[in-house]
Amino acid sequence: MDIDTISRRKFLKLSGLTGVALTLGYYLPADAKEPKLITAFDAENRGIELNSWIYIDVSGKVTLYSHRAEMGQGVYQSIPQIIAEELHVDLDKVNIVFAPGDNVKYGNQITGGSSSIRGSYKNLLNLSATARVMLIKAASNKWNVSELECYAEDGHVIHKPSGKKLHYGELVLEASKLDIPKNVVLKKTSEYKLIRKPLQRQDTPLKTNGTAVFGIDKMIPGMLYAMVERNPRLRGKVKSFDATETLKIPGVKQVFVVRMGVFNTFREGVAVVADSVWAAMKGKKALKVDWDDTGFEHLDTEDIYRRMEEALQKDEGLSFVSKGDSNAIIKSAEKKIDVVYSTPYQSHSCMEPLNCIAHYQKDKIEIWGPIQAPDWVQDYISKELGIAREKVIVNMTFLGGGFGRKAFMDYPHEATMISKEINAPVQVIWSREDDATQGPYRPGVSYRCQGVVANSEISAFKVSIAGQNNSHWRGGAKDIPNRSATEGFLKPYVDNIQNLSIVDIPFETPIPTMWWRSVYASTNGFAYESFMDELAAESAKDPITFRRTYLKDERSSELLNKLEEVSGWKNRSKGYGVAITECFGSTVGQIVKVSKNAENKIQIDQVWAVIDCGWYVNPDIIKAQVEGSIVMALGAATIHEITFKDGKTVQNNFNTYKMPRITDIPPIEVYIMENDADAGGVGEPGLPPFAPALTNAIFDLTGKRIRKLPFELAKV
C-alpha cells in the first residue's frame, strides 16, 4: 500500500539504515525538561528529529547507537546488559555502534565524570521495557488475543495458551506503528537476570587477539602520517626552522608550521608529513627549530610550590564553604593543628599515545580517533574552521586509556590543520615524549589545613586551597571559588561539622591543566582525609569511630561497617589506615595495611576497598575499575610526578615518569554495597581514598605523618 511505501521510505530517511525496523528513541521537547520517548514513525509524522538510540530490525537484531566512547570502563558491556535485561533478548543479539559526534541529537557525549551509566540507565531501562511491551502488543494484535496472555522471552513473543510464537523481527513493523505505552513497569532488582551479574565483557576477545581497532590502528585510503615537533615550553611560536636534513629522509613529503588550540590559547609546532610513521619520526628528530618563548614565565616546580605556600599563609581567598566560626575558634585555641599538604602535577599517560586522523575536504571534515568527547570536537572544529557543525563528522574508535586527556580538542584540531594544509587524509601520531611533555596535566595543589579538637570532637575545621583551577582554561570566571573545592569530601561531613570553612585561593601558572581521573577528588581526598586522621589522632579516638560522629547517615554507616568487617579492623594490629571519599555520586572507603619488610622498609600488605555506587550493572567491571584506580593512585602517590625546570617538563617517557609495575601491587579486595539508590560513577571514585589510607596506615605503624606526595615507600 502507498502508506506503507511512504513510511518505509521515511523510515529509511530517518534511521539512515536499511530495512524496516522498530526504532525508539528519546527526544527533548522544546518546552520540557525531561526527555520523551518516541517512535520513528511518530517522529516523522510530527516532524521531530529522531534521536535514534535503539533499533530492532527484521532479523530481530537490536542495535544501540551509543553516544559514549569506550575507553576501558566497560560501557561496551554495561549498556547491552541493561538493554538485554528489559528487552528479553540474548546479550549477543545486542549490538552497540558508537554514534558520531552530535550533541544536538544525542545530548552531551563526553565520557567523563564517570557518567556513562549514571546519565542514561533509567532511560535505557525504560526504552527497552517499552520496546518489549510494544512487541507483545503487536503480537497480540496479530493473533487477535489479549496481550495479557502473551509474554516475551529470548527475542520472541509467545502466546501462552496456544504456544504460538513470533520472532521480534516479525513484529517490528507492526510495533513501530503503535502508540507508545505509558507507565511501563520496570523489573525489581531481585528479578534481574543479567543486571548485577558478573557477565563477561563482549569486547574482551577483541583485546586478547589484537583485533580491537584503537585510534592508532585505524587506516583510511590514501592516508599519510605526521609527527609534530612542538614547543617544549608549552607555549610560544616558531621563530624559524631548518628542515634540510628532514627533507633528505626517504618518505618525508612536507614540513611546515602548524598551529593548534590549547583551550583559549594556541601552540605552534613544526609538522613533518611522511608516507610512514617511521619516516615522520626520523624526520622530526632531524629538524632544527628556533622557538620564540617571549613572555613565557620560566617555570620551575620549586617556585610554584613556594608561591602556593606563601599564598596559603596569607589567609585570604574566596570562601567556598563557611559554617559557624572556625576562624575565631582557631585564633583563640590554645592548641591547634596547622599543617600543609601538597600534591604534584600528573600526566594522564594513557598507554595509547595521542593520535588522530583527519580528512579535510572541500565540503566536510571527517575525523577518526580515540576521542572522549566527540561532540566537543565537532563544535570546536566547526568554530575554528568556520564550517557547519553537521559537516564535521567525528568517528570514535577504541581508546587505549582516556582518564580525561582524550576529552581535549588539541590533537583533533592539529590533525585537521595538517590535513587542510596537505589536502589529504593524515594520521598524526604523538610520540610518548610528546604525550608526556605537552600536558595538559592534573594541577598540583597545596592545602593548608587548620583544626581544633575539643572533647574528642572537631570544634573547627578549615582548609585553604591553592592550586590552578581547570575551569579557568575554559574561560571560567576568576572571581568565584573553584566549584570542586570539596570534591572528594563526603557530603555528610560538610553537613555535620559545625564550624567548617573551605577557602579557595586563586592561583595561576601558565601550565595547561585538565581533569585527570577523579579530578580534584584525587588531590582533595589526600588532604581532607589525612587531616581527618590527624584530628582523630588528636582526639585519641579510633579513626573509624571518630569519623562516625560525622557520618551518621545510613549509607555511610553501612559502608563503615562493611570496611570494619572485611578488614578485621576491630582486631587489627599496627599499620592500618582508613580513608573514605565521595565523588561522582559514589562513595568509596579503603583500608590499607602496611608493615616493615626484612630490610626495614615499608611494604603494602593489603588493600580492602568498599564502594557504594548505588544501582549498578556489572559487579566484575566495577571491581576491575576499583582495582585499576588503586593501581593508578599508587603510582601517583609513591612513584611519579611531573615537574618543571627552566620552563620545560622534566619527565618525558616511562624511564623518567615511572609507572607502577606488577611487582608494586599488593593484594586488593573490592566489595560492593547492595542498594537501589541512584547509580553513581565507578570509573573514578576508587582512586582518591588510596593515598590517604596508605599514609594514614604509615602513621599508624610509624608515627610519621606524610604530607607531601609523591613519596618513596623505601625512604619512609
Binding site: M71, G72, Q73, Q200, R201, D203, T204, P205, L206, K207, T208, N209, G210, T211, A212, V213, F214, I216, D217, P250, G251, S276, V277, W278, A279, K282, S349, C350, M351, E352, P353, F398, L399, G400, G401, G402, F403, I429, S431, R432, D620, A624, Q625, E627, G628, S629, I630, V631, M632, N653, F654, N655, M659, P660, R661, I662, T663, I665, P667, I668
Partner: protein
C-alpha cells in the same frame, strides 16, 4: 632503503624499507598487523612485545634488518581463534580494560609459560615487570597466568 624478508606468523613478507626501521613499525605499517602496539619506543613498556624464535622481544627497539628471515610471532599468530591457553585465561579472568597493553602482556605471558609450565609468583613478577598497564590490570594478569598454567594440557 632495502628489501627485507620477514617471516611473521609463518608467512613470508618482502618489504622495501629503511633497514634501521624498528620491527614494530615494519609489522604495523608495512605488514599491516596492527595488534602489536607502540607505547614508548624505548623498551620501557612492553606494549610492542613479539616473539623472536620463541623469545619475547621489544619490537620497538629492534631494527628490522636484524630480524630478517627469523621466526617472528605476533599476537595475531598466537592462535586463530583466541584458543591459546593464555588468551583463554585472559578472557576467563576478564583481564583487559582499555586493552591497549594487552597484546604485549599476552605475548610475554605466553613466552613465560612455554618455558616454565607452572611459574610461581616470583617467576611471574620477573617475566612481567617490564610491562606497563596504565589501567592497572596487574592483579588479574597474575591470576590469569596462574589459571593458564593450570589449564595447560
Amino acid at each position: 632503503m632495502a628489501i627485507i624478508n620477514l617471516k611473521i606468523n609463518s608467512k613470508e613478507y618482502s618489504i622495501d624499507v629503511d633497514p634501521q626501521m624498528p620491527l614494530l613499525w615494519a609489522i604495523r605499517d608495512f605488514v599491516g598487523l596492527k595488534g602489536t602496539k607502540y607505547g614508548c619506543g624505548i623498551a620501557q613498556c612492553g606494549a610492542c612485545t613479539v616473539h623472536l624464535n620463541g623469545q619475547p622481544v621489544r619490537s620497538c627497539s629492534l631494527p628490522v634488518a636484524a630480524v630478517a628471515n627469523k621466526n617472528i610471532t605476533t599476537i595475531e599468530g598466537l592462535s586463530d581463534d583466541n584458543s591459546h591457553p593464555v588468551q583463554k585465561a585472559w578472557i576467563e579472568e576478564q583481564v583487559p580494560q582499555c586493552g591497549y597493553c594487552q597484546s604485549g602482556q599476552i605475548m610475554a605471558a605466553a613466552a613465560l609459560l612455554s618455558k616454565n609450565a607452572s611459574p610461581n609468583d616470583a617467576d611471574i613478577d620477573a617475566a612481567m615487570q617490564g610491562h606497563i598497564c596504565r589501567c592497572g590490570t596487574y592483579p588479574r594478569i597474575k591470576r590469569a597466568i596462574k589459571k593458564a598454567s593450570e589449564n595447560k594440557p
